[in-house]
């Protein structure tokens, strides 16, 4: 049977509509049916990335990462109220605080998706200035080790002084905030 819309392809979608006791039958191909919106009321479960990733999660603690005990109480975000069970159904977090409340379990998911749970990219300029300095210190420590290994002690001393300076800056900043 050919599609009654395009008369070109095989009809694979067969619909019976009853409107005001009038029965009508439609025979359409996949394409015409979706163009007409007849597929809208979900024959085929549409693949959704959220469902897919939430499938990687678990609620019962079967796949809890090693070393993390299965939860004895319900895990819930204090800020928005989303529970971990809800998250594993929806596949989306409720607010930025959820990341803290779902902690370790979320980290293992992130590792599965991204192969890492450690951000190395951009840091916001204004709110992240302290974090940026910390990252800089980390980079400089690595450089310091390298210089020492290469026996370039003069250079190494310079870097060491810079690190001290930056560390004081971070401490000073923290005191001010208190």
């Amino acid at each position: 049977m050919f599609c009654q819309e395009c008369k070109n392809k095989k009809a694979t979608v067969h619909l019976t509509k009853i409107i005001n006791n009038n029965k009508k039958e439609f025979h359409l191909c996949q394409q015409c049916a979706s163009e007409k919106g007849e597929l809208e009321f979900a024959f085929e479960p549409k693949f959704s990335i959220h469902h897919f990733f939430s499938g990687l999660l678990d609620v019962d603690g079967l796949e809890a990462p090693v070393g993390v005990p299965a939860p004895t109480t319900k895990i819930q975000c204090d800020n928005c109220g989303l529970t971990y069970a809800q998250f594993s159904q929806i596949g989306r977090l409720g607010c930025s605080k959820c990341y803290g409340f779902f902690g370790e379990r979320l980290n293992s998911l992130l590792k599965r998706i991204h192969g890492s749970a450690h951000h190395t990219g951009k840091v916001p300029h204004r709110s992240g200035s302290k974090i940026r300095v910390k990252k800089e210190i980390k980079d400089m420590r690595a450089e310091l080790q390298q210089k020492i290994a290469q026996e370039e002690f003069e250079e190494a001393a310079k870097i060491r002084d810079k690190i001290k300076e930056l560390e004081n800056e971070v401490k000073g900043g923290e005191k001010k905030n208190e």
Binding site: C32, F53, L82, G91, R92, S96, H114, H119, G121
Partner: protein
């Protein structure tokens, strides 16, 4: 805000057909996902909270009049379903925003190359869409807009996890870089499936024209990064750039092979496509997309003279919402096929030699 006369039928910058490698790369897109601290993500936020995010961005825009001189706010909830669909067909907004746009706004630059979406899946999404292969340029622009917004907004950022997003697949950099590529040579020589499946091994996703869950039509694919956490933005962009170079090389080789094997055959294919497109009275979108691809290949190989801009425009104007928008009424699929054929004939008239 422009609420009345919504003129979306103009050209977007990406359709100009300029830019490096534009014979293979149609467009480059960078999208940054950003959220504000503590306020629930849009799907959980209350109307007041959504409204608050909009007014924060609005205030910021008013304080930076010079930067945002050519931008305009649109309330997506107040646009008709058709207008929203039209925005999607032009790749300005995501399919998701067409369906669900409660208190969602967009801040759109005049040339439609920049769009800042408010209350989509995340509180704020910055999108830059350029013609040809220019991911770096798109990134630099998105990066600078991001800095500007951050001066006033408190982003949800975690030292370990980076920018926090509604979906765990975007966390970290929040960057999605994607390229729209036309690869008819690789489809004809049947290499495409092998190459595309190899892409998934280097952390890239291949999708159809309109992103997630859409099929590949007209030999156009969209490739984008899968990983957003653990790599620097520049690494993500470089990775996709390197792969794009490879794809371009392979596609060029395939096209050259086609020419060497049978110049006449390729010219015939393009000529027939032109014949059908400039004479058909009824045409479906899938057939039209395939023929436009044939025509584009003929043009790229110098077998047919045509304006690239016209072909890029055709990709958009033959879509259902666009057709209905210019006809200013709803059309059933038969009426659309007639209208599509008429529009294509008109656009090709006088454009070929």
């Amino acid at each position: 805000m422009n609420e009345g006369n919504f003129q979306m039928t103009r050209l977007s910058k990406w359709m100009e057909g300029a830019g490096p490698n534009s014979e293979i790369v149609l467009s480059s897109r960078i999208r940054l996902a950003r959220n504000l601290k503590e306020i629930p993500f849009p799907y959980l936020a209350s109307d007041d909270q959504r409204e608050k995010i909009y007014s924060l961005v609005k205030g910021l825009v008013e304080n930076n009049k010079e930067t945002f001189e050519n931008y305009e706010f649109y309330n997506l909830t107040e646009l008709s379903q058709l207008d929203r669909q039209l925005c999607m067909e032009k790749h300005i907004i995501s399919p998701q925003l067409v369906k669900d746009s409660n208190n969602s706004f967009m801040l759109l630059r005049e040339d439609e190359a920049v769009n800042i979406m408010i209350n989509e899946e995340d509180h704020i999404r910055i999108q830059c869409l350029y013609p040809g292969l220019q991911l770096e340029n798109a990134w630099e622009l998105a990066d600078s807009l991001d800095d500007l917004l951050e001066e006033r907004l408190d982003y949800a950022f975690d030292e370990e996890l980076g920018y926090l997003t509604a979906c765990p697949t975007n966390v970290g950099t929040g960057v999605r870089a994607s390229l729209m590529m036309h690869l008819p040579g690789l489809v004809i020589n049947k290499q495409i499936n092998r190459i595309l499946s190899a892409l998934s091994q280097v952390g890239l996703i291949v999708r159809g024209l309109y992103g997630e869950g859409t099929e590949v039509v007209g030999n156009i694919v969209q490739i984008s990064n899968q990983i957003t956490l653990g790599q620097k933005e520049k690494e993500i962009i470089r990775n996709i750039h390197v792969v794009a170079r490879q794809l371009i090389e392979q596609e060029e080789a395939a096209r050259q092979a086609l020419l060497n094997e049978g110049r006449e055959r390729v010219a015939d294919r393009a000529g027939r496509a032109l014949g059908i497109l400039s004479n058909a009275r009824i045409i479906g979108s899938q057939e039209a997309m395939q023929l436009i691809s044939d025509l584009r290949l003929g043009m790229d190989l110098g077998l047919i003279e045509l304006d690239r801009k016209v072909l890029n425009q055709l990709l958009v104007v033959i879509r259902p919402a666009y057709l209905q928008k210019i006809q200013e009424k709803e059309l059933d699929s038969y009426e659309r096929d007639v209208c599509r054929a008429t529009l294509i004939r008109e656009m090709l008239e006088g454009k070929t030699h």
